[in-house]
Structure formats: C-alpha cells, structure tokens
C-alpha cells in the first residue's frame, strides 16, 4: 500500500539543500538505495507524531505473565507514555488499567511491583478493586446513593492479549487481533520460548535498566544490525580472544559466513530478525553443553531442536526485542531521551547451572557496566549528535542481493540492513496514516 501523503503536514526541517520535507518524503526507497532523513531522530514534532500514530496504534509489550503470577499481584508500567497497572484479580483474570484515579486524576499506585487487593488514591481516599472497579470513597455522603453505579473505575486499556506469557496492550480499540499482528513473527517467538525444555521462560527478579540521551530508533535498528559487531564490539571480540573462548578470526567467520543460516530478515509489520548459526556476541556458548542440547532434542525432536538452537535477535515492532538471554523493551521519552528495560530470562526445566551460566555471560555483555551494550549506547549518542547535522543517511546495504522467501520474508546476509528497511517502511506507513480522520485506508 503506497503511503498517503499528508496535505499541509510539513515538518519544519530541511534537507541539505534546504527543501521542506513531508513525512512520506523522509524516506527515499528506490531501486538499490534506501535513504532516511536524519531529522527522524531529532525532531520533537515527529516524536509526538510517533507516539500518536505508531505507539498509539501498536500492540505494545507491557509485562510478562511471570511478573504477576498470583492473584493480587500487580506491576506498573507505561504504554505510549501513559501510566498503567497490570493486575491479576482473584479469578486469575489479568487487567491492564490506566493508573489514573477516576476522581481527580492522581495515580493510585506508585510501586513498581507488589501485591494488593485494592488501590487507594492518595488524594481523597477513593478505593478501586484490583479489577479496576470503584468500591468506595471517603465521606461518601457527599454523593447520591447510586454513586457506585455510575460506572466509575480505573479505565481499562482498550485491548489486552497474551501470547506465550508476553502481555501486549493496545490503545486502539479497532486494532487487528494480536494473533493476526504476530502471524509472521509468531513462529520465532515459539522458538525463543522453546529454548526452555518446558517451553516456559521465567524471570529472575532484577532488571538491567539503561537511559541514554539519544533517539529510541537507534536501539530499534541496532538490535538486529549484524554489521557493527566487529567495530563497535572490537573490545569484546578481543576479550574472547584473550580468554581463548573464540579467536577474532572465528568471530569474523561466524559473522561473515555466507550460505545457510546466517541471515538478516525483514518481516511484514516492521518486524525483523538477525540469525546466526554460530553464535552471537554476548550470548552464552552452548557448544559444549551437550546435556542441555540433548534435553532440547528429546523435548522437541532433532530437526526442531536444531532450529531452536539457532541464535536469534528478534525485533517486534515498534519497541520489543527477544534476545537469547533477555527481553528488552525500549521506552521512548523524548526525541533525544530513551529508557531501556532489560529483563534477563531463565529457561524453565533447564539445569540451574545452565541458567546461572547464561546469566553470568549476560552480565558480562549487557547492563550499564557490561563489556558490550554500553559501547552500542555510546554509538547511539554519537549518532544523536551527528544527526543534528541534517541530511540523508544510507540504509542500502545488501538491497541489491536480498530475496523474498516462500513465507513472505525478505531475506539476505546477516550483515545487510534488511530489518532496518522493514522497520522504516512500517514507520512511514503508520506515520503517513491519519487515524484522526476516522478513515481506514
């Protein structure tokens, strides 16, 4: 579907020759070249539009079921910059509620995780059940008898659906069902979960959290960028060589091998994948873990086990990653400020030693003091400064050699910028759609 140009919606940024650009013109996608205008990283007006047009209509990860396993458990988060409570009621029913008192608007819960049957507003003592219903208020005689029947409540987020423990919510009541949204990427989510012999991911308590003064899309691009490893992570490659785990030559070979199972993929809806048969930097090395590999093979059969053990970084548009060792959520704050939540995972049913060794390797690379991820973030910050020099950036790598497979995936070498093109084509499609007109084009 061609993007709909927006009448009169001119972003007040200029390209290098001084022309005003419309949103749909911020990307030039022609032949073997794909270019992006650097204002997409710096323009606050574009950022606000991203919130309403992309985040306001996308299925967004809000929590994992493991964070709220029992009745009464809750977690708080944000969705599209709006505060929400993820709560499990006495009937095990899950709710995603806006964290906003129906009376005068205060948040009713300030903890990040906890257990509560009710939420009490700190302002005037209104009390809401953990399913959102208003159950009481201080000095009730100031209201008529039918007060509790007015339907006042913590408003639910319009749509909530769960896939394999991942709780997604959507602010758009007319959004397509989650299953339809995930239909191309779902098989990869299954493979990610099935790294557990029981098919179940659990989360040890403790989150690696970053903030950085740069645009959120640098992280979205980078998590499925197979081109930067030798350069941004030269330091980590040196560490692997020093410890004898893997020579720099072998690391380069794993990255550059052409042929089977060393791919970058672009999927519909802006999703993307990086796949490496011989391992990804910062990922636990399973090559000598024969008992775990055997366990996976017994659980799923040799063919599927082989697919499960492929190393993958999975990007689910617009802000969720599933990495081998963790779930990563990007929370955009402003055009030049981003938060990242990294939830390390355990594989239920795998030996404790495997899970602890995975975590220990994760801590080596990730986290604000890790030996890998902070170097990525340094590059995002360098790019934020650079992007202020407004002009065109190249996302053309491998465009001349990509193909489309029978599943509808665009596929190419793992160092090609296929996932990034997929991301930005979806970005442009959504940014050029004006939902406020009510038309579905």
């Amino acid at each position: 579907m061609p993007p709909k140009p927006l009448m009169g919606e001119v972003i007040q940024k200029h390209d290098s020759i001084g022309n005003n650009l419309q949103i749909s013109q911020l990307i030039v996608d022609e032949g073997q070249r794909f270019r992006l205008n650097s204002s997409v990283y710096t323009d606050e007006q574009l950022f606000d539009l991203e919130m309403t047009r992309i985040f306001g209509h996308s299925w967004l990860f809000v929590a994992h079921e493991e964070m709220v396993p029992q009745p009464g458990n809750y977690a708080t988060s944000i969705i599209c910059q709006q505060p929400v409570i993820i709560s499990r009621d006495e009937n095990y029913q899950l709710h995603v509620l806006f964290n906003r008192c129906a009376h005068r608007g205060s948040v009713v819960c300030r903890e990040e995780r906890g257990h509560a049957n009710v939420f009490r507003c700190p302002y005037h003592g209104w009390i809401f059940s953990n399913n959102g219903r208003l159950v009481g208020a201080a000095q009730r005689n100031g209201y008529p008898d039918d007060f509790l029947e007015w339907g006042l409540k913590l408003e639910p987020v319009p749509r909530v659906e769960i896939y394999r423990g991942l709780i997604f919510a959507n602010l758009d009541p007319n959004a397509i069902p989650l299953a339809e949204r995930l239909r191309f990427i779902r098989g990869y989510i299954d493979l990610w979960c099935d790294r557990s012999p029981n098919g179940r991911i659990t989360l040890p308590e403790g989150t690696h959290r970053y903030e950085f003064p740069a645009n959120w899309k640098f992280q979205a691009e980078n998590g499925v960028d197979g081109y930067h490893g030798n350069y941004v992570h030269e330091s980590f490659v040196n560490l692997l060589e020093r410890s004898g785990e893997r020579s720099a030559y072998d690391t380069t070979q794993a990255r550059d091998a052409v042929g089977s199972r060393n791919f970058a993929k672009g999927l519909p809806f802006g999703d993307g994948l990086l796949e490496r048969k011989d391992g990804m930097l910062g990922t636990f090395d399973y090559r000598n873990q024969s008992s775990y590999c055997q366990q996976i093979e017994e659980a799923y059969g040799p063919e599927r086990a082989d697919d499960i053990m492929m190393q993958r970084n999975i990007f689910i548009f617009p802000n969720l990653f599933l990495f081998e060792s963790h779930i990563r959520v990007i929370q955009p704050t402003r055009a030049n400020k981003t938060f990242i939540d990294v939830y390390p995972t355990y594989l239920a049913g795998a030996d404790t030693e495997i899970n602890e060794a995975r975590l220990y390797e994760h801590e080596r690379f990730f986290g604000p003091s890790g030996f890998g991820a902070p170097d990525d973030i340094e590059i995002f910050v360098c790019s934020q400064t650079g992007a202020a020099a407004n002009g065109w950036l190249e996302f053309s790598r491998g465009m001349h050699r990509e193909t489309v497979n029978e599943l509808g995936e665009t596929i190419g070498h793992s160092t090609d910028e296929i996932p990034q093109r997929s991301l930005y084509r979806e970005w442009r499609r959504l940014m050029a759609e004006d939902h406020s007109s009510g038309g579905d084009d």
Binding site: E112, E234, S235, R242, G367, P368, S369, F371, E378, T385
Partner: protein, 171 residues
C-alpha cells in the same frame, strides 16, 4: 603531650581508612593495574541490583578473573564507552568498622560519591557533562603484610534498580 599508643580498633580504623583512600586515588589516577593488585586472589567486585544472594541479576558481579578482564578491557582494548575515558573523583565518608571479630579480617561500611565527567567537545551529547553517582559500600578486607587486600567490594548504588547511563568506569 607525648603520643600514646592508639586503641586497637582506632588503629585498625585508621589503617582501613588509609587503604580505602588509596584505592580511590588509584582509580581516580587511572592506575588500574595497581588497583587490581589490591584484590585478594578470591576477591570480588559487585554492584547489586537487589539485595539478595545470587543468582539475582546484578549490574556487576565480577569474580577475580572478570575484574582482570574489566581492567584489560579498559586499558588495552577499544572500549567506545570509555573513549574518552571518564575523569572521576571519589569522595568517601562514614567509614565504620562493622565486624572486627574475625582474625585477620574486617568488614567495613562507607559511603561513596563519585563525581564523573568525560572530557571532550561540550557541544557533543554525553561529553563534558558532570554528574555524580552515590553508593553505600561494603568492603571485606583481609590483613596482608601490614596492610589489606580486598576480598569483596560491594557498592549499593542509590539508583541501582533504575535507569543508569554509562557506568563503564570503575566505581
């Protein structure tokens, strides 16, 4: 007035204090190899997220081998997040001996504030931007030849569960 012999605990406190000041100075001077030599062979360097035992995820949970790797990374590899290298200044207060009942070992508490800045073009994001990080620290020290070796350095950052930008220098 003639100097008198100090009570044993006070002598220990002064010696521990001198040791921790020296550790801070080595870090602030960028003498990382020398800093490394302050650790016992089984020494650990930890920045927890939660206050529980492993295997809860931590910001840093370095065994001695990983401390060595950290020093090697900072001194001998192209670690972009430390190019330019952080300039740091440690301030240490509230030094207190918590346990002195083990022979040859003490448990010490102190508070630390690290002022940090990465020098460079002030018009570039992330450079020439001073900030301060704060932690309550705990050292388990082992007596060694008239001084001490670190068996554990554990720093509970005040913002340990919350988003943190570039913490790649040594706290």
């Amino acid at each position: 007035m003639t100097p008198t012999e100090l009570p044993a605990d006070l002598a220990t406190l002064l010696s521990v204090q001198a040791f921790i000041y020296r550790e801070a100075r080595l870090l602030d001077d960028g003498l990382l190899e020398e800093w490394l030599s302050l650790f016992a062979e089984d020494g650990e360097y930890i920045l927890p997220i939660k206050d529980g035992p492993p295997p809860e995820p931590a910001i840093i949970r370095d065994s001695h081998a990983r401390i060595e790797e950290r020093v090697y990374r900072l001194s001998s590899t192209l670690a972009h997040s430390q190019r330019p290298r952080s300039r740091t200044q440690h301030e240490i207060t509230n030094i207190e001996l918590l346990e002195t009942n083990q022979p040859n070992e003490v448990l010490v508490a102190c508070n630390q504030t690290v002022h940090e800045l990465r020098p460079g073009n002030p018009f570039q994001v992330g450079l020439a931007d001073p900030r301060s990080l704060h932690a309550r620290c705990r050292y388990r020290l082992k007596a060694n030849d008239g001084s001490w070796l670190i068996r554990e350095k554990c720093c509970f950052l005040i913002n340990r569960e919350y988003p943190i930008y570039n913490l790649t220098f040594i706290f």
